[in-house]
């Protein structure tokens, strides 16, 4: 790999790591707050998978960046503007319907994304994808089931799910947007073509919600900026918790 391509691959790995870290943290906030014990376990298990995924991506990114960079310096020593996760991952966990709706929409996306990343010419990214996709299949099985139950359950569950979809909808286009970095890496056979994932994603999502009483929102508003470090006001609060120990006691180990 040329130096430029190595650096671009590092940035790409860090993006994917940031996505996983931030979503993993949001899911972990349910620990001891789940609606019942089994759900508490499930949400934290999924969170754990995402933290593991973050470690693999960030660890690889750090290795490519070299020097003193490690998965920990990436996770604990960068500020908001340096985080490149997609905005949908940082939105507050909301109620259970919001958490599960976001998770389901992301699980359907992750399945397609990881399937494509398995074919990356970068062997490490392909290996991470092969590992992660097995977990995503399990996540999807459960999150899809919850869409059916909430969407076809009580009046309240349906209303909350409908509201969650309305609140999330404008954050979805960012999942399918390519920027210069990803185009360059796509041309080199390393990155995934996000635009190509949109049609199959829509088919899968429509098929699921067709079995429920909720209606998919119309496309309209959209927000983006995560990849360039322009975040919602929520990320700073999340990082203040995630990074607290390293900020208060720099370099602390135990």
């Amino acid at each position: 790999m040329t130096t430029d391509l190595t650096r671009a691959t590092a940035d790409y790995a860090v993006r994917l790591g940031d996505d996983a870290l931030i979503l993993g943290h949001r899911l972990s906030e349910w620990c001891s707050n789940g609606p019942f014990l089994e759900e508490d376990l499930a949400l934290t298990n999924v969170a754990l998978d995402y933290i593991g995924r973050a470690r693999m991506f960030l660890g690889y990114g750090a290795q490519l960046i070299g020097g003193d960079c490690t998965e920990d310096t990436l996770a604990y020593q960068r500020d908001c503007r340096e985080f490149t996760n997609l905005l949908i991952n940082e939105l507050p966990r909301g109620d259970f319907a919001f958490t599960m709706a976001r998770q389901y929409l992301l699980d359907e996306h992750a399945l397609l994304f990881l399937e494509a990343l398995q074919g990356s010419s970068d062997a490490e990214l392909a290996a991470i994808a092969t590992k992660a996709i097995k977990e995503t299949r399990y996540h999807l099985r459960r999150s899809r089931e919850w869409m059916l139950r909430l969407g076809d359950g009580t009046e309240e569950s349906r209303r909350r799910l409908q509201q969650a979809l309305e609140d999330i909808w404008g954050y979805l286009p960012e999942l399918f947007a390519m920027d210069e970095l990803e185009r360059e890496l796509l041309a080199a056979g390393i990155a995934v073509d996000r635009e190509a994932l949109e049609a199959p994603w829509r088919r899968a999502v429509s098929a699921t919600f067709a079995e429920t009483d909720v209606t998919l929102p119309a496309d309209g508003w959209r927000v983006d900026g995560g990849r360039t470090g322009y975040h919602t006001e929520h990320l700073g609060h999340l990082l203040s918790e995630l990074q607290f120990v390293q900020r208060a006691y720099p370099g602390c180990q135990w």
């Binding site: 499930a42 298990n45 754990l48 998978d49 593991g52 092969t130 590992k131 992660a132 097995k134």
Partner: protein, 181 residues
Amino acid sequence: MPVVNAVAASDRIPLLPVEELERRRRRQHSACPELWRLLDAVKDPEIPVISIWELGVLQNIERDGDTVEVTITPTYSGCPAMDVIREEIGQALEEGGYPHHRIQTRLSPAWSSTWMDEEARAKLEAYGIAAPVSEAGRAAPACPHCGSDRVQAVSEFGSTACKALYQCLDCHEPFDYFKSF
């Protein structure tokens, strides 16, 4: 990819996934069989009846001068047991008289529950954890306590990343199911 079929365990033709065949060959043809035996003492910290070899986590052991190189593969991405396993491998090697060692983690090929052999599966069952069944075959595991097929899934996720929660409808005992992965 894995070729475990859908019939009952007793009728199963023992076909091995290619990655597992290669792993066993690495052990059979190893220049340092004593090290493999030494690490048989390292168990999964969450399922202390099966060793990291039986679980499929231990991938290779080689010697480079006086340094022992151990390769392991994680079961689940975020499995916290991996750090403990790494420490225990180091400790076992040091106690066995091998102070110089390197433990590396390899992601590919991705770990699969099909790498566990019949003996490991039997140990799981005896410990009260239902062994993985083929995704394509039977929909649910049998109860490890009474053997009944009448079971229900309580949650896709259990006490650890590798397990799901089930309950037997006959003996009513809840049990862990080691997920097919």
